[in-house]
């Protein structure tokens, strides 16, 4: 008679798995990691720490090359959220406002113009807090990011970089973990496709399609990877944009599950919200957004 699986009376499998999952991050690092919540229950409950882990590397990638501004905007909104305090503009700004560093190699954002201070305002980031670092090479950008994170001076560090290998991402992840700072990386849209094509060339033709569909996961030590697509903005009755919307797909999440949401950012209150009607026209307009996925992500 084969041994039956061990069952603990009174506790079902899902509860045990949840408990174990809660233990995982504590095993990885000594102290329980702090998190940066979105302020959205649905989203925060989905993330293992109730938000984005502070001392960790987070990747933000556009869904398509044209979505780079959208992804950059999402990244800026995240940068602005730490520390959690509503932004105060003007002279009576709190003096302890920590700076926020954004590092980009000259090529990373070249096709999409330069960061414009007045635009940062709209996403809740006081441009006076912003320190822009523009490097000539990607190598220098990596160095600058690591240096900034290790110094623990800025509240958060953002970066735009074309290439990132596993080793470098581990290095950045370690630096972020040590300093307890979130590090947000803007990645180009094409990495996934390029990787898929490379993989596809090696494998048989039949497998190629499935590889491209699934999207080869680029090896990275990042805690989360978000794929951001532009979505139709929410407007008031005069047709003015009041909330920017993004299709946010959580593609990878350490100790968590992927998910997909339609996230809004309110330009007046400077906070995130979820689009009121999930079955709104914005979702149906996009052919690649599947309702089944959405329900699963819930």
């Amino acid at each position: 008679m084969p041994p039956s699986p061990v069952t603990i009376p009174g506790r079902d499998r899902a509860a045990i798995v949840d408990e174990l999952r809660g233990l995982l991050p504590r095993m990885e690092s000594g102290a329980p990691p702090r998190a940066l919540p979105f302020g959205l229950p649905a989203l925060d409950a989905h993330l293992p720490q109730g938000g984005l882990t502070l001392g960790a590397l987070h990747e933000v990638a556009p869904a398509a090359p044209g979505d780079v501004p959208a992804a950059f905007g999402f990244l800026v909104a995240l940068l602005a959220r730490h520390p959690l305090r509503p932004p105060v503009f003007g002279k009576d700004r709190a003096p302890t406002n920590k700076p926020v560093l954004f590092v980009a190699s000259a090529r990373a954002l070249a096709d999409h113009g330069r960061p414009y201070g007045h635009g940062f305002h709209r996403l809740g980031l006081d441009p006076a807090r912003l320190i822009l670092v523009e490097t000539q090479t990607a190598k220098q950008a990596l160095w600058a990011m690591e240096e900034a994170v290790r110094s623990a001076v800025p509240a958060a560090v953002g970066g735009a970089i074309e290439k990132l290998d596993l080793k470098t991402s581990q290095r950045l992840q370690l630096a972020a973990g040590g300093a307890g700072l979130p590090l947000f990386l803007l990645r180009p849209a094409h990495t996934q496709k390029a990787e898929a094509q490379k993989a596809g060339a090696q494998k048989a033709g039949a497998q190629k399609a499935s590889v491209q569909e699934a999207g080869v996961q680029e090896a990275s030590a990042a805690a989360t990877r978000w794929r951001i697509g532009a979505a139709e903005a929410a407007r008031d009755r005069f047709g003015l944009v009041v909330r920017t919307r993004w299709h946010a797909r959580l593609e990878r999440c350490r100790n968590g599950r992927p998910g997909e949401w339609l996230v809004e950012f309110d330009h007046a209150a400077f906070r995130f919200s979820l689009a009121a009607a999930l079955a709104g026209p914005a979702l149906s307009r996009r052919p690649d957004a599947q309702p089944a996925n959405l329900r699963r992500a819930g």
Binding site: P69, A70, Y116, R122, P127, A128, T137, E232
Partner: protein, 485 residues
């Protein structure tokens, strides 16, 4: 007519003198070798030598035209004791110059004028202060740095020695000669100060070390910098100041000098911080040299002396530096600024000063003029955002032209083609009319109407139409100026 500008010892032995015409010189010696004079190269060589000489004292002035442009003044006041006295310093200097193949005439005196005269006519003399009169009296009047015309007149009048001029009444000379004669005499005898044009501004604080063995490795240089800074920190603390600008001078064995300038945004007295900045700068020099073949940090045969000079200081509150050690996030608002400045300085040293910037608002209606990059640690307060005037997150340095189809010429766009892609417009917000800044000279650009345009994929663009239809133009042009998140 070409003349002889300089001669070597062999030519001099053959009777050729500076100032002879070339034809005469050729006539005197059959085997004369002639090279064209290159004053610019001479000047550059003298400057290099002057830089090298800062290893003895930071105050070095190369001679200008009136001094003959063939030597250096070293202000060794306070520096000669390091070598055991002026004689020893001169001996050391002569030995080193001889090693470079430069025969030199050296002299020391209390005034620049006297030192100049002795170096020319009585080399290797050291004169105590107050002895100028006695020492210069037997010298010919060439010792006085006079123009050829003045010298000629003096000789015609029968003055051959400086001594003959010294005790004469001044009034007749002042009447007959240019100011120059009396001025040079006064300068030589210390009756009138002589300002020297130093090749580098003499630093406020300075420390220098001679090394037993030439150094090549970067780490070793940084270690020496640490010790140099340690020497200086006491005086900085005593005077209540911190360094704002530093210069590191690396004296090569071959006589070359590399100087590295480092600026910091906040005054500092921190030894590890200065060492780190220097290290980053050296790293950058090595890296850029590898990539762009720019001037590398070529150690050559090594550096035999390293000097650290503080070229600019600023008041610094005592205890400001101590806060760095006591890490306290909640208190001490200065702590954050301090650490922030250090981070920015570090990044700027490694990446280049233009690479790190902040943005400051500018009161201008034109979007491209509404902000400017500022010095690294200036924080400018920004006005609150205006909801009615949305601004893009990313803006192009030059607005990019787009082909636009609109229902009416002065209406919002319906479709636009930008970078070869056709976008159908789902929603358009606008127009926001921005007129040219007519009060600015040379600004006569047409009025712009800005639209926040959302295409069918939900991407947001900032388009503008240049020129008011029918009033400024009949064929308005469209541009994409920025991208929204």
């Amino acid at each position: 007519m070409p003349c002889v500008a300089a001669v070597n010892a062999a030519a001099e032995a053959d009777g050729i003198r500076v100032g002879d015409t070339l034809a005469d010189a050729r006539a005197k010696t059959g085997s004369l070798q002639v090279r064209a004079a290159d004053p610019a190269a001479d000047d550059a060589a003298l400057k290099r030598l002057a830089l090298w000489a800062t290893r003895y004292t930071p105050a070095v002035a190369p001679w200008d035209e009136t001094n003959g442009a063939d030597g250096l003044f070293l202000d060794v006041a306070g520096a000669s004791h390091l070598f055991g006295g002026e004689e020893e310093l001169i001996a050391d200097l002569a030995a080193r110059l001889a090693r470079f193949g430069l025969p030199a005439q050296l002299a020391a005196a209390a005034t620049a004028g006297a030192a100049w005269a002795l170096a020319r006519l009585r080399p290797t003399t050291t004169l105590a202060a107050g002895e100028e009169r006695a020492a210069l009296a037997p010298l010919p009047i060439e010792a006085l740095r006079l123009t050829a015309a003045t010298r000629r007149t003096l000789r015609r009048l029968g003055f051959r020695r400086v001594g003959a001029l010294i005790d004469k009444p001044r009034a007749p000379f002042a009447a007959r000669f240019e100011r120059e004669l009396l001025m040079r005499m006064d300068q030589a005898f210390g009756r009138m100060p002589e300002p020297l044009a130093f090749i580098l501004p003499p630093p406020v604080y300075h420390s220098l070390r001679y090394l037993m063995e030439p150094l090549v490795a970067r780490e070793a240089i940084v270690a020496v910098v640490r010790r140099l800074m340690q020497d200086i920190v006491h005086t900085l603390t005593r005077d209540g100041v911190g360094a704002r600008a530093l210069r590191l001078a690396l004296y090569g064995v071959d006589g070359g000098v590399k100087s590295i300038d480092v600026g910091v945004t906040r005054p500092t007295r921190s030894i590890p911080f200065v060492a780190r900045l220097i290290e980053l700068k050296l790293e950058r020099m090595t890296e850029t040299a590898a990539e762009t073949t720019a001037e590398p940090l070529d150690a050559g045969f090594g550096f035999e002396a390293i000097g650290l000079a503080i070229t600019a200081v600023e008041r610094m509150e005592p205890g400001q530096a101590e806060l760095i050690d006591s890490f306290d996030e909640t208190g001490a608002p200065g702590w954050l600024d301090e650490r922030c400045a250090e981070l920015i300085d570090g990044l700027a040293q490694r990446l280049g000063p233009r690479c790190v910037r902040r943005l400051a608002p500018v009161a201008s209606h034109l979007p491209e003029r509404a902000e400017r990059p500022v010095a690294r640690n200036d924080r400018a307060p920004w006005p609150a955002p205006d909801e009615a005037r949305p601004r893009p997150l990313l803006m192009f340095a030059r607005a990019e032209p787009a082909e636009v189809m609109a229902q009416v010429p002065e209406g919002p766009p319906r479709r636009f083609r930008w970078r070869g892609v056709l976008h159908g417009v789902a929603k358009a917000q606008g127009p926001e009319r921005i007129a040219t800044e007519w009060w600015r000279s040379g600004a006569s650009a047409p009025t712009r109407d800005y639209y926040l345009v959302e295409d069918e994929a939900g991407r947001r663009f900032w388009l503008y139409r240049e020129g008011l239809y029918a009033r400024e133009t009949v064929a308005p042009r469209w541009f994409v100026h920025g991208l929204f998140a």
